[in-house]
Symmetry: C2
Subunit: 146 residues, 2 copies
């Protein structure tokens, strides 16, 4: 059954990575995958608390981070810790280093045109867009290798 196999694969995943399979960890993971949206840590916490009232917010944060490090979930926008401003008004895209948070501009011409094939849903009015490429910059790639 779907539920059973999902739980088992989660168990396997943890074992392969040397992660302890705790009740909290399982519930957080199940809750998160059942949410299908882009929930914040607080939102996850609120739902998990219904099943484990004694859970700590810190536990939710720690596990979300762990899941991300192991590729089970992604952060929607690698959050730069603080806001970043730019004055480059020419159309361009971004390379963002996930490790050192460096941002590099890529001229729009270096990437083919982006076009939406369908209408944007529910009257959404697009003001601007950019292609955000996430990865490791040269320096960080080297450091990770060693």
């Amino acid at each position: 059954m779907a539920r059973t196999s999902r739980v088992e694969s989660f168990r396997d995943l943890c074992e392969r990575r040397g992660l302890a399979v705790t009740h909290q960890r399982q519930v957080i993971f199940e809750t998160l995958t059942a949410m299908h949206g882009h929930p914040s840590p607080e939102a996850v916490y609120d739902l998990v608390k219904e099943r484990i009232p004694s859970i700590s917010l810190a536990t939710v944060y720690k596990n979300l981070k762990t899941f991300e490090e192991h590729g089970l979930v992604q952060e929607v926008s690698p959050h730069h810790g603080s806001a970043r401003f730019e004055t480059n008004s020419a159309p361009h895209h971004h390379l963002v280093c996930l490790r050192c948070k460096a941002i590099v501009d890529v001229p729009a011409d270096d990437i083919g045109p982006v076009r939406l094939r369908k209408r944007a849903p529910a009257g959404f009015r697009i003001q601007r867009y950019s292609v955000e490429m996430h990865g490791l910059c040269g320096d960080c790639a080297q450091q990770v290798e060693s």
Copy 2:
């Protein structure tokens, strides 16, 4: 001279918008445009402080926000206030409402393929990318109109 005309156009811009042209505001703007990267408010503050040692961090924040509201600068990624996680592992893109911070997934198929025409600079290793479209969702667009 380039410098003079830049200052004058800033003055005009403020006048047109009913913004007072203060010394602080000018220095913050000049500093920001001279930085050409993606500086954080703190980084701007540190540099501005060299010219106006008595400036307050709050003033820098307030002016950056004002500049953004008037389209003089952009925030690189509209910062969701809190982290957001997703488990959707299928390739997809995002619509982000600048007002209510809602995030809507757009299947990769709804957008033509994105391809980099040149090599990524300086050994950057791209792990994933997505097209981030910013604007107003249907609800917010309506509310702004009135």
